[in-house]
Amino acid sequence: MEKGTCNQGTQRKLVLSNERIAGLLKELLDCSEAQGISACFMCRTCSSSCPIATLEKGFDPVKLIRMCLYGLWDQLLRDPTLWLCTSCYACQERCPQGIKIADFITVLKNLAVKKGEPPPGIKAQREIITQAGRVYPLDEFDNKKRAKMGLPELPTTCTVVGRLIGAE
């Protein structure tokens, strides 16, 4: 397979609604960069570095990379193990090819929210943050309690969050 062409097929299959994510994914897939996932030669350093893979056989970073390279988007974006990644970055730190594995998995999670089936917990978290601007909502009563402890008042809404993801 010619350098620089091996992923074109898989990229064409994917229609993205968010250009920014498409850009990030393209960067991560790019064959001409050392950090692109096609540089993976399956040494499995990521698998043996991964704290989740040691406990849960179904989760394996190298499996996610392979599925992406084979263009198995349907299975990949519906794979529940995708959500077990804790973003601890142990795989990325140790990859001899310099592949940004944890960042790649974060991009996959973004795509799964848009195209696949995110777990109910993720959907719930999205709802909360859209409404409250934070994952642990605060109200005026909380701010009164904070004031009693000498802590500053915190905003109970966030305009940026509401505007960016609330409109959908």
Binding site: N18, C88, A90, K100, L151, P152, P155, V160
Partner: protein, 287 residues
């Protein structure tokens, strides 16, 4: 007095107010004023998995507010630290990402320039270690402590402030300033499991128990933490495991600002040690 913008975490106002009060108290004792910028919101971390664009905008918003004030940003949460630093890294190195994010910020009259610095509380404290050394009033002698750095303080290397602190021994040094002994343990750099507790409590607690047992085996009598999510895992979740009989013997944990606060002789109420779930009242015997 040095002024620094403080990024308060989303979990601390609800579940760990003692981390905020102890951090404020420690900083003030060391001659640093934590500045709360109005409209400082979520760091964007929880948005990373849904929408990278929204995440970048949230992070960049806080960074640009701090830049406007000419202040550095201090975080006491590893999640906020990675989130802000990674956003800074993306925006600084990619003009397209920067332009796109700035177009969103412009609606609030803000602009990201990339003129400030994001520092973690531990990095900041190690930079003023002489001052800390001189301010200690009592040493915690004979206390064996296992330091838990937390993943996102250490990785990924191109984003976190790694080169400046290589090998990563700054937390151990900060613990030893208080007179306690920092022990060496194998699972030190492993993940505590906190990020997936909500999605898969079984795997999450298995990661936690693995760390607790390893630290105990290495001879630790206390874990020291500097991230609210790790603290919730080691304190709240461990407390639940003990109460439900799923863990025979636990290992107490303390926030670094509480440990340092004890050595600095700070007000007990501000340190909030009685607010921790797992009993720590015995720690005063070491003073």
């Amino acid at each position: 007095m040095k002024r620094i913008a403080i990024q308060r975490c989303c979990s601390t106002p609800v579940l760990l107010k003692q981390y905020e009060t102890s951090t404020d108290s420690v900083l003030r004792r060391l001659g640093v004023e934590p500045v709360d910028i109005q409209n400082f919101g979520c760091c964007g971390y929880p948005l990373r998995t849904f929408d990278l664009e929204a995440y970048l905008a949230c992070s960049a918003k806080n960074i640009s507010l701090a830049e406007k004030e000419g202040l550095q940003v201090l975080t006491f949460c590893n999640g906020c630290y990675l989130s802000l630093r990674q956003a800074y890294h993306y925006l600084k190195n990619d003009d397209n990402v920067k332009a796109g994010t700035n177009a969103i910020l412009a609606q609030d009259g803000l602009v990201f320039r990339g003129t400030t610095e994001i520092v973690h509380l531990l990095h900041f404290l190690i930079s003023i270690k002489e001052k800390i050394h001189d301010s200690i009033t009592s040493h915690l002698k004979g206390l064996k402590v296992a330091t838990h750095y937390g993943c996102q303080l250490m990785r990924p290397r191109e984003v976190v402030d790694f080169t400046q602190h290589k090998p990563p021994l700054f937390f151990d040094e900060l613990v030893e300033i208080t007179g306690a002994e920092s022990i060496s343990w194998a699972a030190k750099q492993d993940c505590c499991g906190a990020p997936i507790y909500g999605l898969n409590p079984d795997i999450s607690t298995r990661l936690l128990v693995k760390k607790i047992l390893n630290a105990k085996e290495a001879g630790a009598s206390l874990l020291c933490i500097a991230c609210p999510f790790c603290q919730l895992q080691f304190d709240h979740v461990q407390h639940r495991l003990l109460a439900e009989g799923r863990l025979d013997q636990g290992l107490p944990c303390i926030l670094y600002t509480q440990l340092l606060g004890l050595a600095l002789g700070l007000d007990e109420e501000a340190l909030g040690i009685q607010k921790n779930k797992i009993d720590l009242t015995w720690i005063k015997d070491f003073l």
